[in-house]
Amino acid sequence: MTPVALVLWCIAALVAISVLAVTISRSPGATPIIYGASLSASAAVFVVVLLQLVTPAASGLLPALVLPVGLPWLGAHFRLDALAAFFLVVINLGGAAASLYGLGYGRHETAPQRLLPFFPVFLAGMNLVVLAADAFTFLLSWEFMSLASWGLVMTHHRERDNRKAAYIYLVMASFGTFALLLAFGLLAGTSGSYDFATMRTAGHAPAVSALVLILMLIGAGSKAGLVPLHVWLPLAHPAAPSHVSALMSGVMTKVAVYGFIRVVFDLLGEPAWWSGMIVLLLGGVTAVVGILHALMEQDLKRLLAYSTIENIGVIFVSLGLALAFEANAMNLAAALALAAALFHVLNHSFFKSLLFFGAGAVLTATGERDMDKLGGLIHRMPLTSFAFLVGSVAISALPPFNGFVSEWLAFQAILQSPDLPQWGLKIMVPAVGGLLALSAALAAACFVKAFGVTFLGRPRTLAAQLAKEVDRFSLSAMFVLAALCLLAGILPGIAIDALAPVTLTLVGGRMPVQTSAPWLSIVPIAEGRSSYNGLLVLLFTAFAASLAAYMVHRLASRALRRAPAWDCGFPDLSPQTQYTSASFAQPIRRVFGTLLFQAKETVEMPAPGDPKPARFTLELRDLIWGGLYEPIAGAVWFAAERLNHLQFLTIRRYLSLVFLALVFLLLVLAIWS
């Protein structure tokens, strides 16, 4: 049996699990059965594709597997090439971790019958998108994935916000699919062949390529969360149960990235240089806007969702660089940029899932998502907080964890760009480099805030005071991911080498073989230019820290006394005086917020002697929502109001409407031909 067939069987198994879930979801034993089964299916796919990715044979083009389902003259094509294999690894690793987490987290679920049937089918949908090798199957699986995730967002449908989130998600997802449909229609062209293999070999006119690129940016970009199409993401991702949020943020956005790479790098052929420029600009803006939104947020899960937008921006910056290099036939640099993007895809799926799991654990333990009602959890939930700390350090792009490696590779790719001949790119690339650096620094501030306000300090509410450590399944899922974050950070060479077949097929180049570099360091271009060794950095730091601790404890003093906090002599202040998430972000809000959010702070200070409480109000406006979506929504509403009259016509009028439409269409046909 070929690997494709194996994977397809596993997907079929996932669908079967979800059918099973429909029947048994009300029984108490359903949760462990369903999650256990999903875990085994995902793990099976993971093993199969990992073997496929690391064996050298993977680089060759494998024939597609055609199943006689779907459109009768087309069938359903499935192919497992290197790119698909890489994304399957990401999806199923995330899927397996989420299932493992669900084994524990799912027990607290109030409405398992609304969650369990959708979970396996969501996993199956994501797997199918990546495996699909014709436009019809791709779009069908894409819709499948969207609808399953919509069902998951609606799990807690009794909350008003969730219903609104699900509604906006549904609108945006349909809009995105529509754009994808048009893109594939253009790609198929006059020949009308929806097979990817035919599309790849057919040449495309420049205008068509441009249109397809823009449609892909809209279609895949709206799913991934590119600014300004990101508005649904921070609403929908947090609304789902936490392990599903992890899947949506960590994995589903990556499926969207896959769609973009598949079409723009693979099917579209040689890119134009300005396409890189558009993608770069969008990526840079997305990164900074996303992380600034995250900094303003006080809901932990929404903060994480906004930070996903930032990471998508980082990925798209690298993709834009890869496009720019490819257009100028700089294959090595293109391979470096593409590898940076793909490695960040992998890394982000690790730490974002980990962080959402942590947020879910906090939610289970305290029932709170609002950071300003938490605090001091490091004492009550030491293991969760440790795992969350690892995730925070990794996502803040700090060595020796994995997030740093992919950002470092992106910076190295940027440094290759002076050789680009086009002026627009020459100016754009350093500017975007600045944006990338800014977003990395802001991300660190954001996660200092997220971890500091949630886990450090003193508990702000009773719920936080009484928190208990979560179950072992949730913890083990978090710790597996934390370990992966560290491993990918100190041994990135292995992952980069595994990416070589992908970059070879897509941009015709590859980075130097990393595992042959001395001491397991990584070398983007040549050792004289730059190299980085996470393992040694970790070892040196650990050695220096333990040496210092040992020497100090041995030779100097080890006496320790517990006492009330000093705080410049103010004793026993209430926990309410601690810095909250809003006050932590205040300096940054003053620097960046006035422009982007039109932040307005008003202080109402009653006169001395007046017992009225002082009041501080903060007003933030989302310019994108107000400037782009509200006018559209208003226009739609206006049109709907007008069309409402159509509901109250007589039968004769309805008939005449139909008649007129028919005549009009015939006229069009007559004039057309």
């Binding site: 002026w423 627009g424 100016i427 500017a431 620097v591 422009l595």
Partner: protein, 222 residues
Amino acid sequence: MSGGITFDIAHLLAGGLVLVSFMMLYQDRLYSLLNMFALHSLVLTLSVAWQAYVQHAPHLYVTAAIALGFKAIIIPVALHRMIRRLGIHREIETVVGIGPTMFVGMGLVALSMVVMLRVTQAADPLAREDLAFALAVLLLGLLVMVTRRNAVSQIVGFMSLENGLVLAATGAKGMPLVVEISVAFSILIAFIVIGVFLFRIRERFDTVDVRALDDFKGKRRR
């Protein structure tokens, strides 16, 4: 190697001029703005003098001397005295914040680079770069004028704009001495006119904030 050094120093001085233009954008005190302007003119003097040496064009020394005498010494000193006599509020009111202004400035520099270097493909590198820098200085001067409300800082913006013109002229190995001198004098006259004008605004409106003029025109409705 002498060609390298020639280029390097010209590049350094012209780039320095752009840098000082940025420093003018950054200032929020009138006195330090004036000092920056003096520095601006001084850098221009050096740049012109270096061009005179490199191009063996003695008349450029005259230009340099004019720049040094008028713009680096007389005008700043005069403006200093004027501010003291008028008792103008010494903080500059900006229309937009300094941060956004700097961002716009960056964009303008990028723009002038792209435009100039594209247009002048054939010219020699020294002149090309000089022209690009000169355009940047000119645009930054305009930016200073646009973003400041105070008439004095608008004058300074105008003068720095003119410095950009001189840089362009000397770099392009063109501008005859007569033109140069007449430009310098017209600037001087403009300066005197503006100075008188300033006193008049001040007498009438008790401020040198040019918003007062808008109110007077009756165009502004608030």
